[in-house]
């Protein structure tokens, strides 16, 4: 029915945003996956999360501005997103999911778009609103989150060709998988640090021996 959907790559995220239920089917049919567009959205996610902390109006801003560290923002946006993709792929390849890593990356990134728009609106509006008008901000925040979650469910359902209950179960266990991945990453990091310290102390020891 939609055989005239020869959209350029950058229009696909907007198309699926406006068609939460059949948009991803069209995307799959038309192979509208594009890594460059997906990366732009992920980077925008990172920029928006920093902007939200820095540019939100004083009345609604709870950020401790005395120290600024980019790393938490980076890990809570880009790293978190990559973990989601990896966790979802590792889980769903084992459970008959059809999505490849690239496909999962693209559709997940596209699903973030409403959230990013709502955050953008909040950042701008928070500079013009009073504390009594916090309802507008909450409205946009919840709208963005709900819309993105609906899109994400739709995306997962389509990309893996799952039924709805299976999709939701898969998403839940993806979150569990993410927790395990992050735990292992932190463990690995600390262990490598120990190894590094060990090697470095041997090196210094040798240097002392040979310098005599």
């Amino acid at each position: 029915m939609k055989f005239d959907l020869d959209l350029p790559a950058w229009k696909w995220p907007f198309y699926v945003m406006r068609h939460p239920f059949e948009g991803y089917d069209d995307l799959r049919w038309k192979k509208g996956y594009n890594m460059k567009v997906a990366w732009v959205i992920v980077i925008a996610f990172f920029i928006i999360s920093v902007a939200s902390a820095q540019l939100t109006g004083f009345l609604f801003n709870r950020t401790y501005v005395k120290v600024f560290n980019i790393v938490p923002y980076f890990s809570s946006s880009v790293i978190l997103f990559l973990t989601w993709v990896v966790g979802n792929w590792s889980l769903c390849t084992l459970f008959d999911g059809e999505g490849t890593m690239k496909n999962i990356f693209c559709v997940s990134a596209y699903a973030l778009l409403p959230y990013l728009f709502s955050e953008l609106i909040i950042i701008i509006a928070s500079n013009f609103l009073l504390r009594t008008e916090v309802g507008f901000i909450n409205f946009f925040r919840y709208l963005g989150i709900v819309w993105s979650v609906v899109l994400m469910i739709s995306a997962m359902k389509t990309v893996h060709q799952y039924s709805l209950p299976k999709t939701i179960a898969a998403m839940f266990f993806t979150v569990v998988a993410m927790a395990i991945i992050l735990f292992l990453a932190v463990l690995l990091l600390t262990l490598f640090q120990q190894v590094f310290v060990f090697v470095y102390s041997i090196y210094t020891e040798l240097m002392y021996r040979f310098s005599i």
Partner: protein
């Protein structure tokens, strides 16, 4: 080479000698002034109060008195103060009442603390006015007294109330030291039969109701009417909603009656001290280190905490951070409260020996005093060992220490006086007049964030909203909100034409754009159809 070295060394020595000479001798306070900023971080600040003098028993002339009737060891102790527990100042007469706890006596003096103004009260007598019907302890001397309060009655008779801890009574006597009334353990059923009656602190309101703090009672202060009738309890703390309390609520749904009775009851933490201001509002503090709710309360005559409606009960009183270090909890333990004539609130922290001065709106003004290191035993002026009570009189703050056995007098600094002046003008609503002292405060201490709020209010009052916004930014959300509201209305009013024009242009532009796009699509379709 060596010559140059020698020359350099000589020059250095000369320079050091010169700097050493140029430093004048001065005594610094043993504590660094600090304050909490909007983020709740401690930042250095100027001192609002510095030590004026330290008063001990010898200054009061206690060592010159005749103690021949006492034993040898007792004589030594009586020559000075021994565990002063409480101090009260009658703001009208300027008389000081000091409880000399271990010596079982009350010392009456004035702000000069000179021996010829000092009177010692150790023996009382039962006067003719003492009502026959009242139950009595029948003791004419004090036994480990803990608290004192003084109020003049309608016949201009000065009544002195002493919380006589080990005599289980609050004794009320006049200036001839004749006992007029005794407030003893209530025989009412409401008063728990297992609970002792050891009065720790006492206050009296303008209707001569007596409020007694008994440490073993968690229901609040014990309230007596003037004739000694037990009226009930007043101003209990709320039970803190800890995890244990919530769990108990859950188990109560399941348990049987017997099990519920056997359960550990969740009770509120007892109030530890009490004071009353000129308007009749009663302030209570809670000393327990784990207490986070109801540390400071301001109660109306009905016993309701009016800080709750104002949102002030959410503020932190005392030091912000609770620190655990080597198994010890370094949280504030507010042991006494005092309200001065301007309505400022003084809290005394037993844990750190600090006095926290707040405005009547619970904004922190100054922190002063400190607990000395163990080695010095609090001998340095301004350091404490075990603070017991705080009192104010004419801009000076008096703190008693029950182990140093002395009274430390703090006087306001120039900086403190400027801040106080600005606060007073601000409270009277004279925002414009308060501008100058606030600016002076900022010139002396740019970190003093209350000054930014004061200046913000001043500019807001002058309808200079943009400047007000600048001052309120990151100092006060409520102030910023108020200023921004007016700022926004004014901005829209001033630029209404432009806003309307821009809106119209956008709407017209959108209509035109959609029209053009439709037209182009049609043309495209027509072209496609034509080519086929």
């Amino acid at each position: 080479m060596s010559f140059i070295k020698k020359l350099a060394a000589a020059a250095m020595t000369a320079a050091m000698a010169l700097t050493a000479l140029s430093v004048p001798a001065f005594a610094d306070e043993p504590y660094t002034g600090y304050n909490y900023d909007w983020w709740g971080d401690p930042i250095p600040s100027q001192n609002g109060f510095v030590v004026d003098k330290v008063i001990d028993g010898a200054d009061l002339g206690l060592d010159k008195l005749d103690y021949s009737e006492y034993s040898k060891t007792m004589q030594e102790q009586l020559k000075g103060l021994a565990e002063p527990q409480d101090i009260f100042v009658d703001q009208k007469t300027g008389k000081f009442y000091i409880i000399d706890g271990k010596n079982n006596r009350l010392i009456i003096t004035d702000s000069t603390f000179s021996p010829d103004k000092t009177e010692v009260v150790a023996k009382l007598s039962y006067g003719d006015e003492f009502p026959e019907s009242t139950s009595t302890v029948k003791n004419t001397s004090f036994k480990n007294p803990h608290g004192v309060y003084v109020r003049k009655n309608s016949d201009d008779v000065v009544l002195i109330y002493v919380a006589d801890y080990d005599n289980n009574r609050v004794v009320c006597f006049n200036e001839q030291y004749e006992i007029v009334m005794e407030y003893v353990r209530p025989s009412s059923d409401v008063y728990d039969a297992n609970v002792t009656f050891n009065p720790d602190k006492v206050i009296v309101d303008s209707a001569f109701n007596v409020y007694v703090i008994v440490p073993s009672i968690t229901q609040g202060a014990v309230q007596f009417s003037a004739d000694g009738q037990f009226n009930g309890y007043y101003g209990a703390n709320r039970v803190e909603a800890t995890a244990e309390v919530i769990a108990q609520q859950f188990w109560k749904l399941i348990y049987t009656r017997e099990q519920i009775i056997a359960m550990r009851r969740a009770v509120a933490i007892e109030i530890s001290n009490i004071d009353i201001d000129n308007e009749g509002f009663i302030y209570t503090v809670t000393e327990n280190k784990t207490a986070e709710t109801d540390v400071l309360k301001k109660l109306n005559p009905a016993g309701t905490n009016i800080f709750v409606n104002l949102g002030y009960d959410q503020n932190t009183f005392g030091d912000y951070a609770q620190r655990y270090y080597k198994g010890k909890n370094y949280a504030s333990a507010i042991t006494d409260v005092d309200i001065d004539e301007e309505g400022n609130i003084y809290l005394l922290d037993f844990a750190t020996g600090r006095v926290f001065q707040y405005t009547d709106e619970t904004d922190l003004l100054f922190i002063f005093g400190t607990k000395g290191p163990q080695q010095t035993q609090g001998t340095q002026k301004g350091t404490f060992m075990s603070v017991s009570a705080v009192e104010t009189y004419k801009g000076r703050v008096y703190v008693t220490d029950s182990r140093k056995n002395s009274i430390t007098v703090f006087k306001q600094t120039e900086f403190g006086a400027i801040v106080q002046n600005a606060i007073s003008l601000f409270n009277e609503g004279l925002y414009d007049e308060a501008k100058e002292p606030w600016e002076e405060v900022l010139r002396r201490d740019a970190n003093y964030w209350l000054a930014y709020i004061g200046l913000g209010n001043a500019y807001l009052n002058q309808n200079d909203y943009a400047t007000a916004l600048n001052y309120f930014y990151r100092t006060s959300r409520a102030g910023y909100n108020r200023a921004f509201k007016s700022f926004r209305i004014e901005f829209i009013r001033a630029n209404f034409t432009w806003i309307l024009i821009i809106l119209l242009v956008i709407i017209v532009g959108l209509i035109v754009l959609s029209y053009v796009r439709k037209h182009l699509k049609k043309k495209k379709a027509a072209d496609k159809g034509g080519s086929k």
